[in-house]
């Protein structure tokens, strides 16, 4: 009996028909609605372009100064500020300033959008077991469905450029912040919540005054991972038209310029470390109570 050794499969012909029908279906869908969907994203695109130009075209020292300012405001750590300054300067010194600014612009936007969407999603998940059991597999899909699979469909719909890149990055980068917000909120001490409830807090107060602050360490871990994922997608995004550090990386690989790849990779890492350190020290500063434990 063949099924003992061979998996009972859909016949090759059926599989082919199935594939073709679906492919064709999607193609005609994208032709009819692509335009509309594309227009929908126009304002975002305009903003992305504006923001990228701002960073790329502003004098480099203005940009560095601004970044250092933000760093200092957020982290209040001289050491960190100096470190950020030096690494940004090195990035420029090795001739990667423009690419770095392009990447910085898109990643900033992606990260902010991911956080802005992710935290509420995480909250929703924490609030109901139903939501959790629906959202979790979706997150699994978002994280493991290879970007390559949806890259082409997205390109068919939206063309090549920043918007599909942004979408791909967000799809991939958003799950950690959602998951860890959920986890963090679920781990909040029941006794504390009960006390808050006893004073009749509104759901909003409960969330903003109790759950989120106490879930902060986990949420920050989620944000950290989201930043990491977003930056990890830089190269893939550059495959569909997002300019920045991804391109030289791809070039280095096809042409086997190791050093070029490593330099550009290092610039990505520098961005990652800056993003991460700044956000983490900001969070830590707002959690003073944690250090005062006995």
């Amino acid at each position: 009996m063949s099924w003992l050794t061979e998996f009972p499969q859909l016949s090759r012909r059926d599989l082919l028909t199935l594939r073709q029908t679906l492919d064709e279906g999607y193609r005609s869908f994208s032709r009819s609605y692509g335009e509309a969907i594309e227009n929908f994203f126009d304002p975002l695109l305009a903003f992305l372009v504006w923001f990228e130009n701002l960073l790329v075209e502003a004098p480099w020292w203005v940009v560095i100064a601004a970044i250092l300012g933000i760093t200092h405001y957020a982290a209040r750590s001289i050491k960190l500020t100096v470190g950020v300054g030096i690494s940004l300067f090195l990035v420029g010194f090795f001739g990667m300033w423009e690419d770095t600014m392009s990447t910085l612009s898109i990643i900033t936007v992606c990260t902010l959008i991911s956080i802005a969407l992710g935290i509420p999603m995480g909250i929703l998940m924490a609030r109901s077991h139903r939501a959790q059991s629906i959202i979790t597999p979706v997150l699994d899909i978002m994280q493991t469905m290879p970007a390559f699979v949806y890259l082409i469909p997205v390109v068919m719909l939206l063309g090549i450029g920043k918007i599909p890149g942004l979408i791909a990055v967000i799809i991939y980068a958003i799950p950690p912040v959602i998951r860890l917000t959920n986890l963090g909120i679920r781990l909040v001490d029941k006794e504390v919540l009960e006390a808050a409830d006893a004073y009749g807090v509104t759901p909003m107060q409960r969330l903003f005054n109790v759950q989120l602050p106490l879930a902060m360490p986990n949420i920050m871990a989620g944000i950290n991972q989201t930043i990491m994922m977003a930056l990890a997608m830089v190269v893939i995004a550059s495959m569909i038209g997002v300019s920045g550090l991804g391109q030289p990386v791809l070039r280095s690989i096809t042409n086997q310029y190791f050093t070029l790849g490593i330099l550009n990779g290092a610039a990505i890492v520098v961005l990652a470390i800056i993003f991460d350190r700044v956000s983490q020290s900001y969070a830590k500063r707002s959690q003073r109570y944690m250090r005062s434990g006995s």
Partner: protein, 421 residues
């Protein structure tokens, strides 16, 4: 009686995965231990029926694990009962929707938690202001109020510390201040003073009672300290294994415990402090309203007592003894009794704790008159009565020494013989 502020009806709480399916065991009268062993479910409360009046301090006592915290948590619906109703101001709080429940919790009740339940990420002051914040009170006002309350509980200077930086008792006081800060009508206090030293504790008790006097708050108070319960409680409920075994006024419980359990429970209390004169005095058997000295003497003689309390329409007048009256009877037998013939004697008021009248009572061979604020003689307190009450024999009639030593398992030195020849 007006309708009660809080009414609990047929409340059951069974902890575990499937409380409903095991309720029949509870109803069938299985004990808590049996249910735990058979089903892994813990019986928290069993058929509680209770009424709490507006303005009273209602104390709940009972062994550790008897369901006190569980019961108090039902009052503001922090847990839902397995069965039964909780009615506050004629409203079944089980039927409140989320918003009304919130409102109810904000305005009606505030709670001190046994394990404090402070918010670790807020400073002490923010913690205290938390209830007000929930009510939507403005920042300035709530800070002012919080500061005030912090001072009242003796934590001025700690405003900006975090809970983890405080000692246990300090944390408890933060929880206390938080509850008091909200101005809620009903205070739920779960062992609110347990971590406090005696000085601060009695200060807090005073404050609480003053507050209650002033604002007529209703207070539900869990405590393990019988002295405390007797001191501040208007009524006391005693729980055992989730069942209500007795509810009553402090003296009631002390003097007429419903069963052995309650009796054991109250045995160790400092009666001298807990009981007032009222609760142990006898009716004034040596009361006379004779008009003349002779009348009085006749009275005393027939009663075979050497003294009497003289009372007229205006109330208690004074203490007279046969001995002294007899001396003047010959000359002035017909004259009316008046101040001149009264003797020095203490007069005690019915609300005074026994403790405070021990010396006087013991000093006098005759009973002391008990006179209320209106000046009426309401009873008399004899040395014997006092001794009897102070020596732990609530249910027996006569204050026998043997009784006392039987009662006290560890009694050592009450033998009539010298311990060693």
């Amino acid at each position: 009686m007006t309708s009660p502020l809080i009414r609990i009806e047929g409340l059951y709480q069974l902890f575990g995965k499937n409380p409903q399916t095991h309720m029949h065991l509870v109803k069938a009268g299985k004990t808590k231990d049996e249910i735990l062993a058979e089903t892994g479910h813990t019986l928290g409360l069993k058929d509680i029926n209770l009424e709490i009046q507006q303005g009273e301090i209602f104390v709940i006592m009972g062994l550790s694990g008897s369901g006190k915290s569980t019961l108090i948590r039902h009052f503001n619906r922090l847990i839902d009962p397995t069965e039964g109703r909780v009615i506050v101001e004629d409203e079944d709080i089980m039927e409140l929707d989320a918003k009304s429940l919130r409102n109810f919790r904000q305005k009606k009740m505030s709670m001190v938690f046994q394990r404090f339940g402070l918010l670790p990420h807020y400073t002490v002051q923010e913690n205290v202001a938390f209830g007000l914040r929930a009510q939507g009170v403005g920042k300035e006002e709530r800070e002012k109020k919080a500061k005030q309350w912090l001072e009242d509980v003796g934590l001025a200077g700690y405003e900006n510390q975090y809970p983890a930086q405080l000692s246990g008792g300090q944390q408890q006081r933060v929880g206390l201040a938080r509850a008091l800060c909200t101005d809620a009508e009903i205070l739920l206090m779960d062992e609110a003073f347990s971590a406090l030293d005696p000085l601060i504790r009695s200060e807090m008790q005073d404050q609480l009672m003053a507050l209650q006097d002033r604002l007529h708050k209703t207070i539900v108070f869990i405590t393990h300290d019988l002295d405390e319960a007797l001191r501040i409680g208007d009524r006391i409920a005693i729980l055992r294994d989730g069942e209500l075994v007795q509810v009553g006024q402090p003296a009631d419980i002390l003097l007429h415990p419903a069963d052995d359990y309650v009796e054991k429970f109250v045995r160790d209390v400092n009666r001298a402090r807990a009981l007032t004169v009222e609760t142990v005095m006898k009716p004034p058997t040596h009361r006379i309203d004779a008009k003349t000295i002779n009348d009085a003497l006749a009275h005393m003689r027939s009663a075979k007592s050497g003294y009497a309390f003289y009372v007229n329409d205006e109330g208690y007048q004074g203490f007279v003894s046969e001995e002294n009256l007899a001396k003047v009877a010959k000359e002035k037998g017909k004259e009316p009794l008046c101040e001149d013939y009264y003797e020095d004697s203490f007069v005690i008021s019915p609300e005074t704790p026994l403790e405070e009248v021990i010396p006087q009572t013991l000093d006098h061979d005759h009973p002391l008159p008990v006179v209320n604020e209106a000046g009426e003689l309401t009873g008399e307190l004899s040395r014997d009565d006092l001794v009897q009450v102070l020596t732990h024999t609530p249910t027996s009639d006569a204050a026998g020494n043997d009784d006392a030593s039987e009662d006290e398992g560890t009694a050592k030195g009450t033998s009539k013989e010298p311990p060693a020849a």
